[in-house]
């Protein structure tokens, strides 16, 4: 029997934003795991058991200890497209967006962003994948 995917993993060093995202997704009934450090996130994501029920990974690009794209690269290398990845970043140039999408992200949202739209996009992405 396949397990229901209802976990959302969020990696963002902005603690306030992380708290808001965690609250918002939790109130939608998801289990949310938030992290602020890149290395911590990478070691968490590389554990297969941690992503068994993951429905979405939201990744910030500019983390204090590493580039979010490096996390994305290793994540996609290990799991291919098993879990959709959404990038959330202040880097909004054409090259930045394209590099994120080419590495395997399903969407790229630039900061500042529209919070309700971002939530709706994430939720519909999860529902589509079910």
């Amino acid at each position: 029997m396949t397990q229901e995917r209802n976990k959302i993993i969020i990696v963002d060093d902005d603690e306030d934003l992380l708290a808001m995202l965690v609250d918002a997704f939790e109130s939608e009934g998801y289990e949310v795991h938030g992290m602020t450090r890149g290395k911590e996130a990478l070691s968490y994501l590389m554990e297969e058991k941690n992503i068994e029920t993951a429905a979405l990974l939201i990744l910030d690009r500019l983390l204090p200890d590493m580039d979010g794209l490096e996390i994305l690269r290793q994540f996609v290398e290990k799991y291919q497209k098993r879990v959709p990845v959404l990038i959330l970043s202040v880097l909004s140039g054409e090259r930045d967006v394209l590099s994120g999408l080419k590495q395997g992200a399903i969407d790229y949202i630039s900061k500042p962003f529209n919070f309700p739209i971002m939530m709706e996009k994430s939720l519909s992405l999860i529902k589509q994948r079910r």
């Binding site: 808001m20 500042p112 529209n114």
Partner: protein
């Protein structure tokens, strides 16, 4: 037996030693107190930031008591409230946030900003400019345009952001005047501020200023701003600028022309390939890469083989490379025994991208 004289010297030395020790002790105590004070201030600032963030987050969720914003009253006119709002403004741009930001600013920031804008201290004027840039309201137009003329760059450049957000015509005129007086980073910053507005109206006003303005510095500032945006506007003054004696005006006008194609574009680009200025010729060669006509291919080949400047030759080679098969055929036809420089430029262009 010691003399009275010896005793006095010893006592004097002892007094100096004791004095030094006391001063040293006082310095150590003040250093410790200062550290405690900094630690306390940092802790308090962190706590205040957390309180403000919590209020904003709760208000954004809309689940709390509507009176929750009153918890921000103690931060009225405080820079910490302003910087917290600026931080949230870098995160969100949705309507809910815009309304909340306006509500907080109108209650707790803008009244103070209006008072402080005439302050002698630049930090207070900077505070005012930041508040107006965060929440630009039409009732503050006069305040914003006044601050654009501030003697301090860190005040006037922020006021310029507010003017662009509000699309104040007088403000845009002042920004162009300020930009014309600046050099280097400051000049680019004004141009980027104008671009941030992404408003066609703003650039139409800049085109109007460019058409009327006789001062070459102001005219050049207008051209620099216009060259950063594709507008599809008719810019009849460009023809005169392309024939200006000032190479900076010719170069800026050519950049505007490439971004905003006008009638006789090809004619001006071809003519500019013979300009005495190297920068103008480079720009003309760059502009021609989008016009793969027989005439432009022939002219670029001529530049490739005859121009005295290496950067112009390489740029011509790059343009030919980007013009498709006919351009690449011209590059491949270059013979090292006939023209070594042209051949080297071709090799360079084929190997690297612009």
């Amino acid at each position: 037996m010691k003399s009275i004289h010896d005793l006095t010297i010893n006592q004097l030395l002892l007094s100096i030693l004791v004095g030094e020790l006391v001063i040293l002790l006082l310095l150590i105590i003040s250093a410790i107190l200062r550290r405690f004070w900094i630690y306390y201030k940092e802790r308090k600032e962190q706590k205040d930031k957390h309180t403000i963030s919590r209020v904003i987050i709760d208000s954004l969720k809309g689940k709390e008591d509507p009176k929750i914003l009153q918890r921000l009253k103690r931060f009225k006119s405080k820079p910490i409230l302003l910087s917290s709002l600026e931080l949230f403004d870098r995160r969100f741009n949705d309507e809910r946030w815009q309304n909340l930001k306006k509500q907080i600013a109108e209650s707790y920031l803008l009244p103070g900003a209006r008072r402080r804008m005439k302050s002698f201290y630049w930090l207070k004027r900077n505070f005012s400019a930041r508040c107006f840039a965060l929440v630009p309201l039409s009732q503050d137009i006069k305040n914003i345009t006044t601050l654009i003329d501030d003697p301090l760059f860190l005040v006037r450049s922020i006021a310029a952001k507010a003017a662009v957000k509000l699309e104040i015509k007088e403000g845009i005129d002042k920004i162009i005047h300020q930009m014309s007086r600046e050099i280097g980073y400051a000049r680019y910053l004004y141009r980027d501020i104008l671009l941030q507005g992404k408003s066609r109206q703003i650039f139409s006003w800049i085109a109007e200023i460019a058409a009327l303005e006789k001062d070459p510095d102001i005219h050049l500032a207008c051209l620099e701003a216009l060259s950063s945006q594709t507008l599809m506007l008719s810019l009849p003054f460009l023809k005169q600028d392309l024939e200006s004696k000032d190479p900076n005006i010719r170069l800026a006008a050519l950049k505007v022309l490439i971004r905003n194609p006008q009638k006789d574009l090809t004619h001006f680009l071809l003519k500019s390939l013979e300009d005495p200025s190297v920068e103008v010729r480079i720009q003309a060669a760059k502009g021609l890469e989008h016009i793969a006509s027989k005439e432009s291919l022939e002219k670029l080949e001529k530049v490739l083989t005859n121009d005295p400047s290496w950067p112009v030759i390489v740029r011509a080679a790059w343009s030919l490379k980007n013009m498709g098969k006919r351009g690449i055929d011209i590059l491949n036809a270059q013979n090292p025994s006939k023209n070594k420089r042209a051949y080297e430029a071709v090799q360079y262009a084929m190997q690297f991208d612009w």
